[in-house]
């Protein structure tokens, strides 16, 4: 039977505030255990929550960015359950009246088409603390520094049909929250994480199958692996005549498998009710418009502009604008490169991205600044250097040897464009390669195009890469002509 996968994601993004959602304690990551847990975060008897204004503004920014309605009134509710990292025995969240209601975003599929994914809602809630299982013998240690950190939970419609679509959606949301500067997007530190609801159904069937909820998906790679694994598991069950049961499953990246968390699921009854310590949040039209006016250019709009303004392909524009910082880097580099958009794009997506990846660094902390890259591209464009030499200069810039001009002079890498000097090299190579010359001259023009590469290679070698390749090409073709 052919199966169809149905996926919905619940993304938790930590909002980048200075203080917590309901208290004035700091939210900095990585502090010593419990030093950032104040009386309110600890749920001491008698304490009360007071909502952080920034959190509301950030949620509205998100809502507007995903074309969502912002209801005039939203309500905080208590989700009641006992867990050691949940100090009050309830989590303050939103239930019936979230701050952001229906929205949607577009994602790009592999075949180049666009698909719209619905967003059911996004609501505000407080994060829990952390349980530390190692180092306490027969005990678990509880660190409540993270308790009360603001989260926005973004719930999608079950609109995705493959793990790849789910990843594309998650990447798009990641890109949006970073553009909006409401979340640092740091997945290692858990600032951006997701749960996936996965089910399968026979292709063509309307009703959804029974879903399982996959927890602990804290990288794009794991989302893809976990969903694919879960789909396989469900197919195996159904094809062997079994039934999928609705449950929460934890993904284990080390073993690439999911396992049931039935213990946590047991008798779940969260007893949501409006939090009587907090009054409804009211948001008027003026506030929404004020916030709308401060929204930055978002990925889709920027992509379109890159296509229009810089004449870049959709593919290039998509990659460059997926990351706000990369897009900014690109636009700065162009300014120093006399508008050479395509070359800038190629360098950023090629050499720069490769070395950033290799060294695991952020584009913002690249030792090759956009101005330096732009300067390098200018030297290519004005024929001072060849593309090949440019790569060598780029590596030297990365290693801190200065800007392109300095390196070119220091290493004598200026391109040879003197016609006499180039002709001398061409003649030398022709003399040294009689067999190749004969083969060339007896070939069809089409084949000649390929064979000429040999001569060019030899000449570049002799010139240590400095000969202007176009001049070399032109001269060779003339000299090798038989008639």
């Amino acid at each position: 039977m052919e199966w169809e996968t149905v996926i919905g994601l619940e993304i938790h993004a930590q909002l980048a505030t200075r203080s917590k959602i309901f208290s004035g304690a700091a939210t900095v990551y990585g502090a010593e255990a419990n030093v950032q847990a104040c009386a309110v975060d600890l749920g001491l008897p008698g304490v009360l929550p007071v909502l952080n204004a920034k959190v509301v503004e950030m949620a509205i920014r998100f809502g507007l960015a995903v074309n969502a309605e912002i209801p005039s009134r939203s309500v905080f509710a208590r989700k009641n359950y006992f867990y050691p990292d949940l100090p009050k025995g309830y989590q303050i969240s939103q239930y019936e009246h979230p701050i952001v209601s229906k929205g949607r975003i577009d994602i790009k599929l592999e075949d180049g088409s666009t698909k719209t994914i619905g967003i059911t809602r996004a609501h505000l809630e407080e994060d829990a603390g952390k349980s530390v299982h190692e180092g306490f013998g027969n005990f678990t240690g509880i660190d409540l520094n993270r308790a009360g950190t603001p989260l926005i939970e973004i719930v999608s419609e079950p609109d995705m049909r493959s793990a790849k679509e789910a990843v594309a959606y998650m990447k798009k949301i990641h890109s949006i929250v970073r553009y909006l500067e409401i979340c640092d997007g740091n997945m290692q530190e858990g600032s951006f994480r997701c749960d996936a609801n996965v089910s399968i159904r026979p292709k063509g069937q309307k009703e959804f199958g029974t879903r399982s909820e996959l927890k602990n998906l804290n990288s794009f790679k794991f989302v893809e692996l976990a969903i694919n694994h879960e789909v396989e598991r469900q197919i195996d069950i159904l094809e062997s005549g079994g039934k999928v049961i609705q449950e929460t499953r934890l993904y284990d990246p080390n073993k690439n498998e999911t396992r049931s968390m039935r213990s946590k699921e047991e008798a779940n009854d969260y007893r949501y009710f409006p939090d009587p310590d907090l009054l409804p949040v009211e948001i008027d039209k003026e506030t929404i418009e004020r916030i709308r006016s401060t929204l930055p250019e978002l990925p889709d709009a920027k992509k379109q502009r890159f296509m229009d303004e810089y004449r870049l392909s959709e593919y290039d524009s998509e990659i460059l604008t997926a990351n706000k910082d990369m897009a900014a880097y690109f636009e700065k580099a162009i300014q120093s490169a006399d508008g050479e958009a395509k070359l800038c794009a190629n360098w950023i997506m090629g050499d720069l991205s490769a070395v950033l990846n290799r060294e695991n660094r952020d584009i913002m902390e690249s030792p090759v600044t956009p101005e330096m890259l732009g300067g390098l591209i200018l030297r290519i464009k004005d024929n001072t250097i060849s593309s090949k030499i440019a790569k060598e200069i780029f590596e030297a810039m990365w290693d801190g040897e200065g800007d392109a001009g300095t390196i070119i002079e220091k290493k004598g890498l200026r391109q040879v464009t003197d016609a006499g000097a180039i002709e001398k090299l061409v003649d030398e190579v022709i003399v040294e390669s009689p067999a190749q010359v004969e083969q060339y001259q007896n070939s069809t023009p089409e084949k000649q195009g390929k064979l000429i590469g040999y001569f060019v290679g030899q000449i570049m070698k002799k010139s240590q890469g400095k000969a202007n390749p176009e001049q070399v090409n032109e001269l060779l073709i003339n000299k090798l002509k038989t008639d």
């Binding site: 008897p45 008698g46 025995g89």
Partner: protein, 484 residues
């Protein structure tokens, strides 16, 4: 000295007839002695008190004294007091030294008051007799076989027995007014949001409100001046401007429109109580007030509604008592569930467990609409009825409690009848209105309180009426035999 009220003590202190330290020593001694009989304190805090008294004397000597400087006060043990045990009447918090001050405590400290101790109360303020306290029942100074009411029973008994001129209370369904009525003192439950709830251990967040318990309305006004007002740490704190509550005490009440709800005077009310309230109202009529009958049909449902809303909120509010970060923790828990279930099972008393379980039930899947949501809808009906009534009359008057103080153990095993003793008080909490109970007569040697309910933020009016009433009556001046 113990016979004096706040207004009188201020005079004595300001004239340096006695220092605050001397006064505090007298009060501490009297409290320590009498507490052995009445059990109205959970903690008496001499060191803390004498330190504050010394500071008060410095202020007085420097001429910087305020209207409450050096005056002794007792705090209900529901208010967190930095460095002092704050038990909430529960084994759960028997070992809890609060690491911070409640806003109310902070404000009274700043006003220069001297805290003598923390008063006994029903466990987590759940009870109407003070018998649910882990620390044992408080005895009513008027008859030591009887309860003082609850949950602020220790505060009421301490003020009635002339141990302190004022104690704080909290009122979720009548917990200031009912014990004030049963002990013959003045108890004001302010408008919801008027007094900060920060640091006041929550029972039912949408109903809880702190307030003063004093002998006179004038003293209540002085305390209100210190504790009322907006608090940025409490999201449910009202930003309405605070008035000087003493300013209108002596205003005439001629033309005052009083509504008497017929439902408050039906066959369920002890006829003697009804007679006393009518006599009290007559006194007000003599002062120029006009009386008319009104109807609050929804008030009949206030007890059912209350026993959904309050337990629902309490079941969630009390979830934080889990033996992990503070409070009671069971011995040698086998695992996490055992830690939770036994710490809570052993740390909470029977009435608290009943209410947590009721609250858990009415919020649980399948029952939420039939109980919780239904109750919140009727709550609106009750509130709207009050609003409508208060657009036609200035205040509503009725009994505070259906009878005088009952005997210890009389209702302990009958929760339903115990719940019904709040029948005239809970609707006020559901609506969030202010109300005051003032002594209005005696029945068989026991005091009877009259309840005056006002519109939102009408505390000055309530205090004015109570004060004028106290100028022409002597009920508030009566002291129980042996405590005068």
């Amino acid at each position: 000295m113990h016979k004096k009220n706040i207004a009188e003590l201020v005079q004595v202190l300001q004239h340096r007839d006695i220092s605050s330290v001397e006064l505090t020593r007298l009060v501490l001694e009297r409290c320590t002695n009498i507490n052995q009989k009445l059990n109205c304190f959970i903690s008496i805090t001499p060191e803390h008190a004498l330190l504050q008294a010394k500071l008060a004397d410095e202020k007085i000597n420097q001429g910087n004294a305020g209207p409450l400087t050096g005056i002794p006060i007792a705090q209900k043990d529901i208010f967190c007091t930095d460095g002092v045990k704050t038990s909430c009447g529960s084994k759960m918090l028997d070992n809890f030294i609060a690491p911070y001050d409640a806003t109310v405590v902070e404000k009274l400290n700043n006003a220069g008051m001297v805290m003598i101790g923390k008063t006994n109360m029903d466990e987590f303020a759940m009870g109407s007799s003070n018998e649910t306290s882990f620390y044992g029942p408080v005895l009513n100074p008027w008859d030591m076989d009887r309860v003082p009411g609850g949950s602020s029973g220790g505060s009421a008994a301490a003020v009635a027995a002339r141990l302190v001129p004022v104690a704080t209370g909290t009122d979720t369904g009548g917990s200031i007014r009912q014990p004030a009525s049963l002990c013959g003192i003045t108890g004001l439950k302010p408008t919801y949001g008027r007094i900060s709830r920060y640091g006041m251990i929550a029972f039912a967040s949408s109903l809880d409100q702190g307030g003063p318990m004093t002998r006179t309305a004038e003293d209540a006004a002085l305390i209100m001046n210190a504790i009322a007002g907006f608090d940025e740490r409490d999201s449910t704190s009202a930003e309405n401007p605070v008035e000087d509550y003493t300013q209108h005490l002596n205003n005439s009440i001629a033309g005052l429109k009083i509504g008497l709800p017929k439902e408050y005077f039906d066959e369920q009310l002890n006829p003697d109580i009804g007679r006393i309230i009518h006599e009290g109202v007559k006194e007000l009529e003599k002062l120029g007030a006009n009386v008319k009958e009104i109807s609050l049909p929804g008030s009949k449902l206030s007890i059912p509604v209350y026993y959904v809303v309050a337990p629902a909120e309490c079941s969630s509010n009390l979830a934080r008592f889990d033996g992990v970060r503070f409070g009671y923790r069971c011995n040698d828990p086998e695992d996490l569930s055992d830690l939770y279930c036994r710490s809570r099972g052993e740390g909470f008393g029977r009435e608290v467990k009943r209410r947590i379980m009721i609250g858990t039930y009415v919020l649980s899947a399948g029952y939420y609409d039939a109980y919780y949501l239904k109750a919140q809808k009727i709550r609106r009906l009750i509130r709207d009825e009050f609003r409508q009534a208060l657009s036609k009359v200035d205040v509503i008057i009725g009994p505070t409690a259906p009878g005088p103080a009952f005997r210890i153990n009389e209702l302990l095993d009958d929760p339903i009848t115990m719940y019904l003793s709040d029948i005239y008080t809970v609707s006020v909490n559901l609506a969030g209105l202010p109300a005051i109970s003032i002594p209005a007569g005696m029945l068989g040697g026991l005091p009877v309180g009259m309840q005056v309910i006002g519109n939102y933020f009408a505390e000055p009016r309530l205090l004015n009426i109570a004060h004028r009433f106290q100028q022409v009556t002597h009920w508030h001046k009566l002291a129980p035999a042996g405590f005068d």
